[in-house]
C-alpha cells in the first residue's frame, strides 16, 4: 500500500490535530479529524504563534487570514510586579525586529479564530464533531476506533492529538502520565478600552512578583482585546477530575493583592472566577504503540511560559506528516521511531526550559531577582533557538534526510 492510500484518523480538532490534517494534505495524504466537543469553540483563550509555526502556515498560504485576526506585539516587556517599572524590553514589531531576524511573524490570536481558519482551510466536512473516543481496538492490519455516540471507524493510523489529559496516550503508555505542576492560572480576555491603567497595551508583557506572574498580549485585528494569563503557586495539590475549577469570585483578585493597578484592574475586568490547573506530561520513552501515535500536549504537555505548547504541536504535526508520507502501511515503526527521536529531543529541551522559567518569573524582590533581571535582558539571545527552528530544515538535515517540502 502506498503512503497516499493510508487512512489516518486524528483524535482531537485542536491546533495540533488540525495542523496535522493540513500538513498531511500538503503531502498528498488524506485524514479525518474526530473531536469530542459538539462545536469548535474555545472559551476565553488565546495563543501566541511564533516563527517556528507561522513559517509553516505561511507556506500553506494561511498567513493573510491569520494576520487579519491577530495583533503583532510592539515589544516584549518585563515589569516589576508592584511599581510597574520596565526591567527589560525587547522590540518585536517595532523596527520589524522579529520578522527580520526569524523570517516569519509573531502573532497574538484567539484560539477560536485560529481553529476556524485551520478547519475552514481543511474542510469542515472532514472534521467530525461530537465524537468522544471510548475505545481503540487492533484488528489485524488496521485499527478500529469507537466513539461514545456509537460511531465506529477503521483506520491504518490513529493519531492522538487530544491534549494534556490524552485518552490516546493512556492507550499508548498504559498509564496516566499527566502531572500537576503545583501552579494554576486565572485567564481572561478584556477589551483594551477597559484597561486605562495599562502601559503599552499592545506589547507582550510579563509582570513578575513573589510566587506569581501575569502575562498578557493583545489579540484581534486591531489590538482591541487583551488576553491575560495570571499564574500562582497554588494549590499544592489538584484534586479535581477536570483541569478547570470554579473559585469564589474574590479569589483571583485576592491572589494579586498589592500588585500594580494595571494588574488588578485587568483581573477584575475579566470577571472570570475559574482556576486552570497547569499540567505537564512526564517525559515519555515512547510516543507510539503499534499503529497509534501521539503528538502535541498529549506527548509532551509543558508549562506555557515560553508560549510554546501550541507552537511545538504545530512542529510535531508537520514533522509527523513528512515521516508518514515516506512510510508504508506494513512498516510504520520506522516512521514512528524517526518521528519520536526527532521530536522528543526538541520538545524535552523546551519543556525543561519552561520549568526553569516558571520559578524565575516568581521571585521575591532581592538578590535572586536581580540575577533574574539580568537574564531577562538576554532573552532574545538565550531563547532565539526556540523561534529559529525550521521543521523543514530539520527534516532535511536528518540521516537519511526526509524530503523537506512536498514535491510538486
Amino acid at each position: 500500500m502506498a503512503a497516499t492510500d493510508l487512512r489516518v484518523a486524528i483524535i482531537g480538532a485542536g491546533i495540533g490535530g488540525l495542523s496535522l490534517a493540513l500538513a498531511l494534505r500538503e503531502r498528498g495524504l488524506t485524514a479525518d479529524v474526530y473531536e469530542q466537543a459538539p462545536e469548535l469553540t474555545e472559551i476565553g483563550a488565546a495563543i501566541a504563534l511564533s516563527a517556528n509555526s507561522t513559517r509553516e502556515y505561511a507556506r500553506l498560504g494561511l498567513l493573510d487570514e491569520l494576520t487579519a485576526a491577530s495583533t503583532i506585539p510592539t515589544e516584549l516587556i518585563y515589569r516589576h510586579w508592584r511599581d510597574g517599572s520596565r526591567i527589560a524590553a525587547h522590540p518585536v514589531h517595532n523596527d520589524n525586529t522579529y520578522v527580520s531576524r526569524f523570517g516569519a511573524p509573531y502573532l497574538g490570536i484567539h484560539r477560536a479564530d485560529l481553529q476556524k481558519a485551520l478547519s475552514g482551510a481543511f474542510g469542515v466536512k472532514y472534521v467530525h464533531l461530537g465524537c468522544r473516543l471510548v475505545n481503540i481496538i487492533e484488528d489485524n492490519n488496521a485499527v478500529v476506533v469507537e466513539f461514545a455516540n456509537g460511531r465506529v471507524e477503521h483506520a491504518d493510523i490513529v493519531v492522538g492529538a487530544d491534549g494534556v489529559r490524552s485518552t490516546v496516550r493512556r492507550w499508548v503508555t498504559g498509564a496516566d502520565d499527566a502531572v500537576y505542576s503545583g501552579t494554576s492560572a486565572f485567564r481572561g480576555i478584556v477589551p483594551t478600552d477597559n484597561l486605562p491603567s495599562l502601559p503599552d497595551p499592545h506589547a507582550i508583557q510579563f509582570w513578575m512578583g513573589p510566587d506569581a506572574h501575569l502575562l498578557h498580549y493583545a489579540i484581534g485585528g486591531n489590538g482591541e482585546l487583551v488576553n491575560f494569563f495570571a499564574v500562582v503557586e497554588t494549590p499544592r495539590m489538584w484534586l479535581q477530575d477536570s483541569t478547570v475549577a470554579d473559585v469564589h469570585e474574590d479569589v483571583p483578585i485576592a491572589s494579586f493583592r498589592g500588585w500594580h493597578r494595571a494588574v488588578t484592574e485587568m483581573i477584575r475586568a475579566a470577571e472570570s472566577p475559574i482556576r486552570w490547573g497547569l499540567f505537564t506530561v512526564r517525559p515519555l520513552l515512547r510516543w507510539y504503540r503499534d499503529r497509534v501515535v501521539i503528538l502535541g500536549d498529549a506527548a509532551h504537555g509543558m508549562l506555557p511560559h515560553h508560549g510554546q505548547g501550541a507552537n511545538t504541536s504545530i512542529e510535531d504535526a508537520f514533522a509527523l506528516a513528512a515521516f508518514l508520507t515516506e512510510s508504508r502501511s506494513d512498516d510504520l515503526d520506522t516512521a514512528f521511531v524517526r518521528y519520536q527521536t526527532m521530536r522528543r529531543a526538541r520538545t524535552r529541551k523546551i519543556q525543561r526550559s519552561s520549568w526553569v522559567t516558571s520559578s524565575l518569573l516568581h521571585l521575591p524582590d532581592g538578590p535572586a531577582a536581580s540575577v533574574r533581571n539580568e537574564k531577562v535582558a538576554r532573552v532574545p539571545q538565550d531563547f532565539g533557538w526556540i523561534h529559529d527552528y525550521d521543521v523543514q530544515r530539520a527534516l532535511a538535515a536528518l540521516t537519511p534526510p526526509v524530503a523537506a517540502r512536498p514535491s510538486d
Binding site: P283, L284, L285, Q340, T341, R344, A345, K349, R352, W385
Partner: protein, 82 residues
C-alpha cells in the same frame, strides 16, 4: 551489556548528536570539555534513552558532569542482560 559496550554506545550517540570525535571520548572527560552546552547535553541524554531503551529523569541528567557519570547511570539503571 558490558561497561565497554555502554561506553561504545555513548560514544556513537555523542558522535551522532554532537559531532564529537570518538577519539576524544573518555569516561573522565567532562561534557563541557567535549563542547556540549546544557541544551546539547540534553539532546545527548534523549538520544541515549532511545539507544538504551530507558528513561533518564531530568534531575538525574542535570547532575551528569562527565561521560563516566552518564555511563555509570545507564549501567546502574539497566536491567542486566544476563
Amino acid at each position: 551489556m558490558s561497561h565497554d559496550e555502554t561506553l561504545a554506545g555513548i560514544t556513537e550517540v555523542l558522535a551522532a548528536v554532537a559531532s564529537v570525535d570518538a577519539s576524544d571520548v573518555a569516561p573522565e572527560k567532562t561534557l563541557a570539555e567535549l563542547g556540549l552546552d546544557s541544551m546539547t547535553a540534553l539532546e545527548v541524554v534523549v538520544a541515549a534513552e532511545d539507544r538504551f531503551g530507558l528513561l533518564i529523569p531530568d534531575d538525574e541528567a542535570a547532575r551528569f558532569r562527565t561521560v563516566g557519570d552518564l555511563v555509570g547511570y545507564l549501567e546502574r539503571a539497566a536491567v542486566p542482560a544476563r
